[in-house]
């Protein structure tokens, strides 16, 4: 049973790590616009160098 002393904190750490990641991504607005990024990826960036 002693292994639980290690496993429980690790499980919690893992779980709450992901929770933290989710809270951070919500705060930084990653769920606000779910449509545009899918379009942005279709464009290749080759024109970039020409212009700038």
């Amino acid at each position: 049973m002693n292994i639980l002393v290690l496993m429980i904190p690790m499980a919690l750490l893992l779980g709450f790590g992901f929770l933290g990641a989710f809270l951070w991504s919500t705060d930084s607005g990653q769920f606000e616009d779910t449509v545009t990024p899918a379009h942005r990826i279709l464009e290749n960036d080759e024109q970039e160098g020409v212009e700038s």
Binding site: G15, L19, T26, E32, D33, V35, R40
Partner: protein
């Protein structure tokens, strides 16, 4: 446009003989490219910096601060019209390359918005002009336009609460498994202690939503749905903590936590559906972002339509849509008021007459005195009413609300009685049974399901072009027996069509004169003429002039031609147009509003459902009879020559009535009928009198409304029956001691989920 369709439809699009965009592959209609973005990207970038001075007025100092977003991660927001595919996004996001004062540009395709970050050299006019050169119409959004900014913040907060509740509930459920499988001793205390720690964020963070709303309800002496949730949450927490400290008895952390998580989830779904509806409606109905000139002692200045004050004198140019209610200051002007009354023919306004917001000015450089600013104009009052009416609770929802209230109160009293009755024999069992009852009988099913069903039905109908002002209409629609149609504008269309002419067959030359004279006119008759003579080409006319409200005149081959209509057409559904050559009438055309093709089908369908259809019209009886014949109505059901009062009286003679109309003379009838429906292009007063408004000028909306009402009713009744049965059976079992609080807490969110699923599925 849906982003996925571009990719998934690729193959099918090519197979069909549609022309596709040479750059991005989405369907492009007749052109080589689907949009300006693709044209620009494939032909290489060009210089967009040259342009007209059209937008220079945006550079006034107060505009810059007025449109600035403070405390947000962008400086300016624009609404961009015409974004079409991924090339548009790509091109617009290149803005920083063209204007060095823009440091970052980000597009939100779904909302058609552009977010800009800028430095101090930024010029508003340059940005709008750049976008205009790229082929997009754009408008700066004011921070006050953005009440969805707050909504977004609240959504974020709720989402975070759900995430925390979900993570904690999940972990608690893991830690409770060993306890349930018979763990004892120290480890049992440790696992329960862990559950306790994990429960703290739920009590002190995720649950706060419920405490606030329950408290707000109590302050107004209302026991709302959040009250029993709060009670279940707090009593679950306190009871479990007491049992944990005592070292004996049940622990309810797991069940309470999952129950809170599920309730939060269903709340979020409901919120998003409601918001989606409100936001989309806001966008479609607003026509702000226009700029007008105001006359002041200092001269003419350009302001946005929101900045007028009462009493200002403003100058409005041709084709601008009025943002305010005003009084005419010019001698006499013409305006297209079809938004307000559905009349296809422009109206003449004399000096001193009131002209309402939403009218389109046809004369140029018209002076108006502002009577009511935008917020107080008739149009915006009406829109407000439409929007608020949606959230007025329908009778059925108020019924379920009352049911829920009664349920909460009676469950409490029964629980207390059970506790008192059993207390003598076994206090622990008495407590368990009453707790099980309270947890089980939480009326979420009732209180969440019905508003969600109605909200979904309203949203669905909005998508189909049906605006529901009064949600009671859903219930009333199902009882309808007698349906009354107005003729003009309802059964018939508003588009004018050429019906007869003198002489019967027109020579090509006369056709050509008609088409040439009307070639520059935006008058509905001009469109009807072009429609009637599609193959006729126009020839140049010298000294072509429009005689406002009368017609047009000009010289062709040294003959003076005048094309004018009788002024008597305002009340009649027939408009005649005569052509005079050097003062002699050489031809007359007659135009009419023909019956809409779907009118007949709709009437046939309604009759099949056992409803009586009537025509009530102010028009001549013979004309009404014609329409009745075409739509296969018995002549006894066609009433012509009716005044507003006669229409009203006729409708009052019947029960379960529905009136569908558009003219001002229908307003009384709309009010008298159980369900009043105004069709597209109705007068303002009609929209106020009606319960339902069809935004598409098609009567098939009526059938769709029936279907939706039937669906909504089915879902509501199903939900009600299910939740009442669940509460009675579950409650009885709980009192009998067959369901322990643990099982009750599992069953409760499951019942809520079933209601949610049934609602979403029933109205999908």
């Amino acid at each position: 446009m849906d982003g996925n369709s571009i990719v998934t439809d690729w193959n099918t699009m090519e197979a069909i003989a549609f022309k596709t965009c040479a750059y991005c592959g989405s369907p492009s209609g007749k052109d080589q490219y689907c949009c300006e973005g693709c044209r620009t990207l494939s032909q290489g970038f060009r210089d967009f910096s040259k342009g007209s001075s059209e937008f220079l007025f945006l550079d006034q100092a107060n505009f810059k601060s007025m449109y600035r977003f403070i405390g947000s991660d962008c400086d300016y927001q624009l609404y961009v019209e015409g974004m079409h595919c991924s090339s548009c996004i790509h091109l617009i996001e290149k803005l920083p390359h063209y204007d060095k004062s823009i440091t970052a540009a980000r597009v939100d395709f779904g909302q058609s918005k552009l977010f800009l970050k800028v430095n101090e050299n930024f010029s508003l006019s340059r940005a709008v002009q750049l976008l205009s050169a790229m082929g997009y119409k754009s408008y700066f959004l004011k921070p006050s336009d953005e009440n969805d900014l707050n909504l977004q913040k609240e959504n974020k907060a709720l989402l975070k609460k759900i995430a925390v509740a979900g993570a904690c509930a999940g972990n608690i459920m893991l830690f409770v498994i060993p306890v349930y499988s018979g763990l004892d001793g120290n480890w049992r205390t440790i696992f329960n202690g862990l559950s306790f720690l994990l429960f703290l964020p739920i009590v002190f963070y995720s649950g706060t939503t419920f405490y606030k709303s329950a408290w707000a309800g109590l302050k107004h002496r209302i026991i709302n749905i959040d009250f029993p949730i709060t009670l279940a949450l707090l009593s679950g927490f306190i009871l479990s903590t007491v049992n944990l400290v005592r070292g004996s008895g049940h622990i309810y952390y797991d069940s309470t936590a999952s129950f809170i998580f599920l309730i939060l989830c269903s709340r979020y779904v409901l919120r998003r559906i409601q918001q989606k509806y409100i936001l989309s409606q806001n966008l479609s109905l607003s026509q702000r972002h226009q700029n007008f000139s105001r006359l002041s002692p200092a001269g003419e200045e350009v302001v946005s339509g929101d900045d007028f004050c009462e009493g200002d004198i403003i100058k409005v140019y041709a084709n601008q849509v009025l943002p305010i209610d005003g009084l005419v200051e010019s001698e006499s002007i013409y305006a297209d008021v079809s938004v307000l009354n559905g009349e296809p023919v422009p109206r003449k306004f004399e000096k001193g007459m009131e002209i309402l917001a939403g009218s389109k000015i046809i004369s140029d450089a018209v002076l108006l005195r502002v009577k009511e600013i935008r917020r107080h104009s008739h149009l915006s009052k009406l829109i407000d009413q439409l929007q608020s009416g949606v959230w007025k609770k329908s009778k059925f929802v108020s019924l379920t609300d009352r049911c829920a209230q009664v349920l909460i109160l009676s469950v409490f009293s029964i629980a207390i009685l059970t506790f008192l009755a059993l207390y003598d024999s076994d206090p622990q069992e008495a407590f368990n049974r009453s707790l099980a009852l309270i947890v089980l009988a939480c009326p979420c099913a009732l209180a969440l399901g019905s508003p969600l069903a109605v909200a979904l039905a309203v949203k669905k109908s909005y998508e189909k072009g049906i605006l529901i002002k009064n949600t009671d209409a859903f219930e009333k629609v199902l009882k309808l027996k007698n349906i009354f149609f107005d003729k003009t504008g309802t059964l018939t269309g508003t588009q004018l069509v050429l019906t007869s002419s003198v002489p019967e067959s027109l020579s090509e030359k006369i056709k050509q004169i008609f088409v040439s004279l009307e070639q520059k006119s935006y008058h509905p008759i001009a469109f009807a003429i072009r429609e009637a003579f599609p193959s006729t080409k126009s020839i140049p006319v010298s000294d072509l002039r429009e005689i406002m409200g009368k017609g047009v005149c000009g010289f062709i081959d040294n003959h003076f031609y005048e094309c004018s209509s009788d002024n008597s057409y305002f009340d009649s559904s027939v408009i005649s147009l005569s052509l005079k050559e050097d003062g002699h009438t050489i031809s007359t055309l007659q135009f009419e509003n023909p019956i809409r093709p779907e009118s007949r089908e709709t009437i046939a369908n309604l009759q099949k459902r056992g409803m009586n259809c009537f025509i009530v019209s102010g028009d001549l009886q013979t004309r009404v009879n014609d329409v009745a014949l075409v739509s296969r109505l018995p002549l006894g059901f066609a009433h012509g020559g009716m005044s507003s009062i006669q229409k009203q009286d006729l409708i009052r003679k019947y029960k379960n009535t529905c009136m569908i109309g558009d003219g001002t003379n229908d307003a009384l009838a709309l009010q008298a009928a159980d369900v009043g429906i105004a069709v597209a292009g109705s007068t303002l007063i009609n929209l106020q009198a009606a319960d339902v408004f069809f935004t598409r000028s098609s009567l098939s909306s009526l059938l769709e409304l029936f279907e939706l009402a039937q669906k909504a009713k089915k879902v509501l009744v199903r939900n009600l029956i299910f939740s009442l049965a669940y509460n009675f059976v579950g409650g009885a079992l709980a009192i009998a001691g067959l369901i322990n609080p643990m099982l009750a807490a599992i069953l409760m969110p499951i019942s809520s989920l079933i209601i949610l699923a049934s609602t979403l599925w029933g109205l999908k």
